[in-house]
Amino acid sequence: MEKTNLVMQTTLLAGAILLENGAEIARVEDTMQRITTNAGYPDAQIFVLLTGITVALPAVPASQVRAIHRRGMDLEKVDQVNTLSRKFAAHTLTLSEFSAALTRVNQAVPTFPFSWLLLASLVVSVTLMVAFTGHASPANLITCALAGGIGFSAFDRLNHHSPLRFLSEFVGAFLIGLVTLAGHYLGLPDYHADAIIIGAIMPLVPGVAITNAVRDTMTGNLLSGPARAIEAILSASAIGLGIALTSFFY
Protein backbone atom coordinates (compact mmCIF):
# COMPACT_ATOMS: atom_id res chain seq x y z
CA MET A 1 0.00 0.00 0.00
CA GLU A 2 2.88 2.34 0.85
CA LYS A 3 4.49 1.70 -2.54
CA THR A 4 1.35 2.10 -4.64
CA ASN A 5 0.68 5.39 -2.88
CA LEU A 6 4.20 6.65 -3.63
CA VAL A 7 3.93 5.56 -7.29
CA MET A 8 0.68 7.45 -7.73
CA GLN A 9 1.93 10.55 -5.90
CA THR A 10 5.17 10.67 -7.92
CA THR A 11 3.41 10.14 -11.24
CA LEU A 12 0.86 12.84 -10.45
CA LEU A 13 3.56 15.30 -9.40
CA ALA A 14 5.58 14.72 -12.59
CA GLY A 15 2.43 15.15 -14.70
CA ALA A 16 1.39 18.27 -12.82
CA ILE A 17 4.79 19.95 -13.27
CA LEU A 18 4.74 19.19 -17.01
CA LEU A 19 1.15 20.39 -17.48
CA GLU A 20 1.63 23.57 -15.43
CA ASN A 21 4.70 24.58 -17.41
CA GLY A 22 3.66 24.30 -21.01
CA ALA A 23 3.84 20.65 -22.15
CA GLU A 24 1.17 19.27 -24.49
CA ILE A 25 -1.35 16.70 -23.18
CA ALA A 26 0.13 13.86 -25.26
CA ARG A 27 3.61 14.47 -23.77
CA VAL A 28 2.23 14.54 -20.22
CA GLU A 29 0.36 11.25 -20.73
CA ASP A 30 3.39 9.64 -22.36
CA THR A 31 5.80 10.64 -19.56
CA MET A 32 3.37 9.55 -16.83
CA GLN A 33 2.79 6.20 -18.54
CA ARG A 34 6.57 5.63 -18.71
CA ILE A 35 6.96 6.38 -15.01
CA THR A 36 4.24 3.93 -13.93
CA THR A 37 5.60 1.28 -16.29
CA ASN A 38 9.11 1.69 -14.89
CA ALA A 39 7.71 1.53 -11.37
CA GLY A 40 6.18 -1.85 -12.15
CA TYR A 41 2.59 -0.95 -13.09
CA PRO A 42 2.39 -1.13 -16.91
CA ASP A 43 -1.42 -1.29 -16.87
CA ALA A 44 -1.95 2.00 -14.98
CA GLN A 45 -4.79 4.16 -16.27
CA ILE A 46 -3.92 7.81 -16.79
CA PHE A 47 -6.43 10.49 -17.65
CA VAL A 48 -5.12 14.00 -18.29
CA LEU A 49 -7.29 17.07 -18.77
CA LEU A 50 -6.08 20.66 -18.95
CA THR A 51 -7.46 21.31 -15.45
CA GLY A 52 -6.76 18.04 -13.67
CA ILE A 53 -5.05 14.63 -13.76
CA THR A 54 -6.27 11.22 -12.60
CA VAL A 55 -4.17 8.10 -12.08
CA ALA A 56 -5.58 4.68 -11.30
CA LEU A 57 -3.71 1.42 -10.65
CA PRO A 58 -5.97 -1.49 -11.61
CA ALA A 59 -3.78 -3.91 -9.60
CA VAL A 60 -5.02 -2.27 -6.39
CA PRO A 61 -8.44 -0.66 -5.90
CA ALA A 62 -7.05 2.89 -5.76
CA SER A 63 -6.95 6.08 -7.77
CA GLN A 64 -5.80 9.61 -7.09
CA VAL A 65 -6.62 13.02 -8.53
CA ARG A 66 -4.68 16.27 -8.76
CA ALA A 67 -6.24 19.58 -9.81
CA ILE A 68 -4.25 22.00 -12.00
CA HIS A 69 -5.09 25.60 -11.22
CA ARG A 70 -2.49 27.71 -12.94
CA ARG A 71 -0.68 27.23 -16.21
CA GLY A 72 2.35 29.12 -17.44
CA MET A 73 5.50 28.52 -19.42
CA ASP A 74 8.74 27.36 -17.77
CA LEU A 75 10.61 25.01 -20.08
CA GLU A 76 13.49 24.56 -17.60
CA LYS A 77 11.11 22.55 -15.38
CA VAL A 78 9.94 20.48 -18.36
CA ASP A 79 13.56 19.67 -19.15
CA GLN A 80 14.35 18.70 -15.55
CA VAL A 81 11.35 16.38 -15.27
CA ASN A 82 12.42 14.79 -18.54
CA THR A 83 15.99 14.26 -17.28
CA LEU A 84 14.79 12.80 -13.97
CA SER A 85 12.35 10.50 -15.75
CA ARG A 86 15.18 9.21 -17.97
CA LYS A 87 17.34 8.56 -14.90
CA PHE A 88 14.47 6.70 -13.25
CA ALA A 89 14.03 4.60 -16.38
CA ALA A 90 17.76 3.78 -16.34
CA HIS A 91 17.49 2.75 -12.65
CA THR A 92 20.05 5.33 -11.49
CA LEU A 93 17.32 6.79 -9.25
CA THR A 94 15.04 4.91 -6.85
CA LEU A 95 11.37 5.80 -6.64
CA SER A 96 11.73 7.75 -3.39
CA GLU A 97 14.79 9.66 -4.69
CA PHE A 98 12.85 10.45 -7.86
CA SER A 99 9.93 11.72 -5.81
CA ALA A 100 12.16 13.94 -3.65
CA ALA A 101 13.94 15.34 -6.72
CA LEU A 102 10.60 16.19 -8.37
CA THR A 103 9.51 18.09 -5.28
CA ARG A 104 12.72 20.14 -5.46
CA VAL A 105 12.15 20.87 -9.18
CA ASN A 106 8.62 22.02 -8.45
CA GLN A 107 9.84 24.48 -5.81
CA ALA A 108 13.02 25.91 -7.26
CA VAL A 109 14.74 25.77 -10.61
CA PRO A 110 17.28 28.20 -12.05
CA THR A 111 15.55 31.19 -13.60
CA PHE A 112 16.96 34.12 -15.52
CA PRO A 113 17.30 37.33 -13.46
CA PHE A 114 14.76 40.08 -14.21
CA SER A 115 17.37 42.18 -16.07
CA TRP A 116 17.80 39.32 -18.56
CA LEU A 117 14.05 39.00 -19.02
CA LEU A 118 13.79 42.75 -19.64
CA LEU A 119 16.63 42.64 -22.18
CA ALA A 120 15.04 39.59 -23.86
CA SER A 121 11.68 41.35 -24.16
CA LEU A 122 13.37 44.39 -25.75
CA VAL A 123 15.18 42.14 -28.24
CA VAL A 124 12.02 40.17 -29.12
CA SER A 125 9.99 43.37 -29.62
CA VAL A 126 12.51 45.26 -31.74
CA THR A 127 13.70 42.36 -33.92
CA LEU A 128 10.19 41.18 -34.71
CA MET A 129 9.01 44.72 -35.52
CA VAL A 130 11.81 45.02 -38.10
CA ALA A 131 11.28 41.47 -39.40
CA PHE A 132 7.50 41.91 -39.85
CA THR A 133 7.21 45.50 -41.04
CA GLY A 134 10.68 46.58 -42.23
CA HIS A 135 10.34 49.94 -40.41
CA ALA A 136 13.72 50.57 -38.79
CA SER A 137 13.93 54.36 -38.30
CA PRO A 138 15.49 55.42 -34.94
CA ALA A 139 12.15 56.81 -33.66
CA ASN A 140 10.47 53.45 -34.29
CA LEU A 141 13.30 51.40 -32.78
CA ILE A 142 13.52 53.44 -29.57
CA THR A 143 9.78 53.70 -28.98
CA CYS A 144 9.33 49.99 -29.70
CA ALA A 145 12.07 49.05 -27.24
CA LEU A 146 10.55 51.32 -24.58
CA ALA A 147 7.00 50.11 -25.15
CA GLY A 148 8.00 46.43 -25.30
CA GLY A 149 10.13 46.68 -22.15
CA ILE A 150 7.54 48.59 -20.12
CA GLY A 151 4.66 46.40 -21.29
CA PHE A 152 6.47 43.17 -20.49
CA SER A 153 7.76 44.34 -17.08
CA ALA A 154 4.27 45.42 -16.04
CA PHE A 155 2.86 42.07 -17.18
CA ASP A 156 5.60 40.09 -15.43
CA ARG A 157 5.41 41.99 -12.10
CA LEU A 158 1.61 41.88 -11.97
CA ASN A 159 1.54 38.21 -12.93
CA HIS A 160 3.59 37.38 -9.82
CA HIS A 161 0.97 38.91 -7.55
CA SER A 162 -2.37 38.50 -9.26
CA PRO A 163 -4.05 35.19 -10.02
CA LEU A 164 -5.66 36.70 -13.12
CA ARG A 165 -3.32 36.36 -16.07
CA PHE A 166 -5.72 38.23 -18.34
CA LEU A 167 -5.65 41.33 -16.14
CA SER A 168 -1.84 41.44 -16.29
CA GLU A 169 -1.97 41.09 -20.07
CA PHE A 170 -4.55 43.86 -20.31
CA VAL A 171 -2.43 46.24 -18.23
CA GLY A 172 0.72 45.37 -20.20
CA ALA A 173 -1.02 46.02 -23.52
CA PHE A 174 -2.59 49.24 -22.24
CA LEU A 175 0.84 50.59 -21.22
CA ILE A 176 2.24 49.66 -24.64
CA GLY A 177 -0.62 51.61 -26.20
CA LEU A 178 0.06 54.63 -23.96
CA VAL A 179 3.80 54.73 -24.74
CA THR A 180 3.07 54.50 -28.45
CA LEU A 181 0.45 57.23 -28.18
CA ALA A 182 2.91 59.48 -26.33
CA GLY A 183 5.43 59.01 -29.15
CA HIS A 184 2.74 59.95 -31.65
CA TYR A 185 2.04 63.27 -29.87
CA LEU A 186 5.77 64.08 -29.68
CA GLY A 187 5.60 64.31 -33.47
CA LEU A 188 8.68 62.16 -34.13
CA PRO A 189 9.75 61.90 -37.79
CA ASP A 190 9.04 58.68 -39.73
CA TYR A 191 6.87 57.27 -36.91
CA HIS A 192 4.70 54.18 -37.52
CA ALA A 193 2.46 53.51 -34.51
CA ASP A 194 1.05 50.27 -35.96
CA ALA A 195 4.49 48.77 -36.55
CA ILE A 196 5.61 49.69 -33.03
CA ILE A 197 2.55 48.12 -31.42
CA ILE A 198 2.89 44.88 -33.41
CA GLY A 199 6.50 44.54 -32.26
CA ALA A 200 5.96 45.58 -28.66
CA ILE A 201 3.11 43.12 -27.98
CA MET A 202 5.05 40.10 -29.32
CA PRO A 203 6.34 39.02 -25.86
CA LEU A 204 2.72 38.94 -24.63
CA VAL A 205 0.58 37.53 -27.46
CA PRO A 206 -0.79 33.97 -27.16
CA GLY A 207 0.56 32.67 -30.48
CA VAL A 208 2.05 29.51 -28.99
CA ALA A 209 -1.17 28.91 -27.03
CA ILE A 210 -3.24 29.03 -30.23
CA THR A 211 -0.93 26.57 -31.96
CA ASN A 212 -0.90 24.24 -28.93
CA ALA A 213 -4.70 24.34 -28.85
CA VAL A 214 -4.81 23.04 -32.44
CA ARG A 215 -2.12 20.44 -31.73
CA ASP A 216 -3.90 19.10 -28.64
CA THR A 217 -7.20 18.92 -30.52
CA MET A 218 -5.53 17.04 -33.40
CA THR A 219 -4.11 14.36 -31.09
CA GLY A 220 -7.64 13.57 -29.95
CA ASN A 221 -7.82 15.62 -26.75
CA LEU A 222 -11.22 17.03 -27.64
CA LEU A 223 -11.75 18.62 -24.21
CA SER A 224 -8.31 20.06 -23.49
CA GLY A 225 -7.64 21.45 -26.99
CA PRO A 226 -10.73 23.67 -27.12
CA ALA A 227 -10.13 24.64 -23.47
CA ARG A 228 -6.71 25.93 -24.46
CA ALA A 229 -8.33 27.80 -27.35
CA ILE A 230 -10.67 29.57 -24.91
CA GLU A 231 -7.65 30.56 -22.81
CA ALA A 232 -5.90 31.93 -25.93
CA ILE A 233 -9.01 33.83 -27.08
CA LEU A 234 -9.29 35.50 -23.66
CA SER A 235 -5.62 36.53 -23.82
CA ALA A 236 -6.00 37.93 -27.33
CA SER A 237 -9.09 39.83 -26.20
CA ALA A 238 -7.33 41.28 -23.15
CA ILE A 239 -4.42 42.49 -25.29
CA GLY A 240 -6.61 43.71 -28.15
CA LEU A 241 -8.82 45.67 -25.75
CA GLY A 242 -5.82 47.18 -23.96
CA ILE A 243 -4.46 48.54 -27.24
CA ALA A 244 -7.87 49.51 -28.63
CA LEU A 245 -8.57 51.74 -25.61
CA THR A 246 -5.66 53.98 -26.58
CA SER A 247 -6.24 53.78 -30.34
CA PHE A 248 -9.25 56.13 -30.18
CA PHE A 249 -6.97 59.11 -29.43
CA TYR A 250 -4.93 59.18 -32.65
Binding site: G22, A23, E24, R27, M73, D74, L75, E76, K77, V78, D79, N82, T83, R86, V109, P110, T111, F112, W116, L117, L119, A120, S121, L122, V123, V124, T127, L128, V130, A131, F132, F152, I198, I201, M202, P203, V205, P206, G207, V208, I210, T211, A213, V214, R215, M218, A232, I233, A236, S237, I239, G240, L241, I243, A244, S247, F248
Partner: protein
Protein backbone atom coordinates in the same frame (compact mmCIF):
# COMPACT_ATOMS: atom_id res chain seq x y z
CA UNK B 1 17.04 36.00 -55.68
CA UNK B 2 20.78 35.75 -54.96
CA UNK B 3 20.93 39.44 -54.16
CA UNK B 4 17.85 39.15 -51.95
CA UNK B 5 19.45 36.28 -50.01
CA UNK B 6 22.65 38.15 -49.12
CA UNK B 7 20.85 41.37 -48.13
CA UNK B 8 17.29 40.96 -46.82
CA UNK B 9 17.59 37.21 -46.34
CA UNK B 10 20.68 37.46 -44.16
CA UNK B 11 19.20 40.31 -42.12
CA UNK B 12 15.91 38.43 -41.60
CA UNK B 13 17.81 35.31 -40.49
CA UNK B 14 19.77 37.31 -37.90
CA UNK B 15 16.60 39.02 -36.65
CA UNK B 16 14.84 35.67 -36.29
CA UNK B 17 17.85 34.22 -34.45
CA UNK B 18 17.77 37.08 -31.92
CA UNK B 19 13.99 36.95 -31.54
CA UNK B 20 13.97 33.18 -30.95
CA UNK B 21 16.85 33.30 -28.47
CA UNK B 22 15.12 36.19 -26.66
CA UNK B 23 11.81 34.36 -26.54
CA UNK B 24 13.65 31.30 -25.25
CA UNK B 25 14.92 33.39 -22.33
CA UNK B 26 11.37 34.59 -21.64
CA UNK B 27 10.17 30.96 -21.54
CA UNK B 28 13.09 30.09 -19.21
CA UNK B 29 14.68 27.42 -21.38
CA UNK B 30 17.95 25.93 -20.04
CA UNK B 31 20.89 28.27 -20.75
CA UNK B 32 22.84 25.75 -22.79
CA UNK B 33 19.90 25.49 -25.22
CA UNK B 34 19.47 29.22 -25.95
CA UNK B 35 21.99 29.47 -28.81
CA UNK B 36 20.93 26.31 -30.64
CA UNK B 37 17.25 27.12 -30.28
CA UNK B 38 17.96 30.53 -31.84
CA UNK B 39 19.41 28.87 -34.94
CA UNK B 40 16.46 26.48 -35.23
CA UNK B 41 14.15 29.51 -35.23
CA UNK B 42 16.33 31.30 -37.80
CA UNK B 43 16.18 28.27 -40.11
CA UNK B 44 12.39 28.16 -39.87
CA UNK B 45 11.93 31.87 -40.54
CA UNK B 46 14.40 31.86 -43.48
CA UNK B 47 12.44 28.96 -45.03
CA UNK B 48 9.23 30.93 -44.68
CA UNK B 49 10.71 34.15 -46.10
CA UNK B 50 12.27 32.40 -49.11
CA UNK B 51 9.01 30.60 -49.93
CA UNK B 52 7.08 33.86 -49.51
CA UNK B 53 9.38 35.51 -52.09
CA UNK B 54 9.34 32.63 -54.56
CA UNK B 55 5.73 31.36 -54.61
CA UNK B 56 3.74 32.94 -57.45
CA UNK B 57 0.34 32.73 -55.68
CA UNK B 58 -2.06 34.79 -53.56
CA UNK B 59 -1.07 35.89 -50.06
CA UNK B 60 -3.27 33.35 -48.25
CA UNK B 61 -1.74 30.41 -50.15
CA UNK B 62 1.76 31.82 -49.58
CA UNK B 63 0.99 32.01 -45.86
CA UNK B 64 -0.30 28.44 -45.80
CA UNK B 65 2.53 26.81 -47.77
CA UNK B 66 5.25 28.98 -46.22
CA UNK B 67 4.16 28.24 -42.65
CA UNK B 68 3.63 24.54 -43.41
CA UNK B 69 7.14 24.02 -44.78
CA UNK B 70 8.68 26.23 -42.08
CA UNK B 71 6.91 24.20 -39.38
CA UNK B 72 8.26 20.97 -40.91
CA UNK B 73 11.79 22.45 -40.96
CA UNK B 74 11.46 23.58 -37.32
CA UNK B 75 10.03 20.22 -36.27
CA UNK B 76 12.79 18.20 -37.93
CA UNK B 77 15.56 20.56 -36.76
CA UNK B 78 14.17 20.48 -33.18
CA UNK B 79 14.12 16.69 -33.29
CA UNK B 80 17.80 16.62 -34.28
CA UNK B 81 18.71 19.30 -31.72
CA UNK B 82 16.80 17.43 -29.01
CA UNK B 83 18.67 14.21 -29.68
CA UNK B 84 22.02 16.05 -29.87
CA UNK B 85 21.50 17.89 -26.55
CA UNK B 86 19.48 15.10 -24.82
CA UNK B 87 16.63 17.50 -24.06
CA UNK B 88 12.91 17.36 -24.86
CA UNK B 89 11.93 18.70 -28.29
CA UNK B 90 9.57 21.28 -26.81
CA UNK B 91 12.61 23.35 -25.67
CA UNK B 92 13.55 23.99 -29.29
CA UNK B 93 10.27 24.03 -31.19
CA UNK B 94 8.23 26.35 -28.93
CA UNK B 95 10.63 29.37 -28.96
CA UNK B 96 11.38 28.80 -32.67
CA UNK B 97 7.73 29.30 -33.55
CA UNK B 98 7.66 32.89 -32.28
CA UNK B 99 8.10 34.62 -35.66
CA UNK B 100 5.52 32.32 -37.28
CA UNK B 101 2.66 31.90 -34.80
CA UNK B 102 -0.43 34.05 -35.42
CA UNK B 103 -0.24 36.04 -32.17
CA UNK B 104 -0.09 39.39 -33.95
CA UNK B 105 -3.06 38.45 -36.13
CA UNK B 106 -5.08 37.28 -33.10
CA UNK B 107 -4.56 40.69 -31.49
CA UNK B 108 -5.55 42.43 -34.74
CA UNK B 109 -8.83 40.46 -34.86
CA UNK B 110 -9.89 41.80 -31.46
CA UNK B 111 -8.61 45.30 -32.10
CA UNK B 112 -10.47 45.62 -35.40
CA UNK B 113 -13.65 44.24 -33.85
CA UNK B 114 -13.49 46.81 -31.06
CA UNK B 115 -12.65 49.76 -33.31
CA UNK B 116 -15.46 48.90 -35.75
CA UNK B 117 -13.80 47.18 -38.73
CA UNK B 118 -15.52 43.77 -38.80
CA UNK B 119 -14.35 43.00 -42.36
CA UNK B 120 -10.67 43.43 -41.45
CA UNK B 121 -11.29 41.36 -38.33
CA UNK B 122 -12.68 38.47 -40.42
CA UNK B 123 -9.70 38.73 -42.75
CA UNK B 124 -7.23 38.40 -39.86
CA UNK B 125 -9.33 35.67 -38.22
CA UNK B 126 -9.05 33.57 -41.37
CA UNK B 127 -5.27 34.06 -41.26
CA UNK B 128 -5.17 32.91 -37.61
CA UNK B 129 -7.07 29.74 -38.50
CA UNK B 130 -4.94 29.01 -41.59
CA UNK B 131 -1.59 29.57 -39.84
CA UNK B 132 -2.40 27.71 -36.61
CA UNK B 133 -3.83 24.74 -38.50
CA UNK B 134 -0.97 24.57 -40.96
CA UNK B 135 1.70 24.74 -38.21
CA UNK B 136 0.01 21.88 -36.34
CA UNK B 137 -0.06 19.78 -39.52
CA UNK B 138 3.58 20.69 -40.21
CA UNK B 139 4.57 19.42 -36.76
CA UNK B 140 2.71 16.15 -37.38
CA UNK B 141 4.64 15.70 -40.65
CA UNK B 142 7.91 16.55 -38.87
CA UNK B 143 7.16 13.97 -36.16
CA UNK B 144 6.62 11.37 -38.87
CA UNK B 145 9.99 12.35 -40.48
CA UNK B 146 11.73 12.08 -37.09
CA UNK B 147 10.32 8.57 -36.61
CA UNK B 148 11.60 7.62 -40.05
CA UNK B 149 15.10 8.97 -39.26
CA UNK B 150 15.15 7.07 -35.99
CA UNK B 151 13.97 3.92 -37.77
CA UNK B 152 16.68 4.06 -40.45
CA UNK B 153 19.53 5.18 -38.20
CA UNK B 154 19.22 2.01 -36.07
Amino acid sequence: MGHWLVTTGLLQTLLAYLATAGFGVLLNIPRRAVNLSGWVGAAGWLTYEVLFQLLPTTVDIKLAIGNLVAAVVIGVASGLAARYKQMPMIIFNIPSLVPLVPGGQAYRVVRNLVTGHPQLATHYLSQVVIIAGVIAIGFLIAEFCNHLFLHFSH
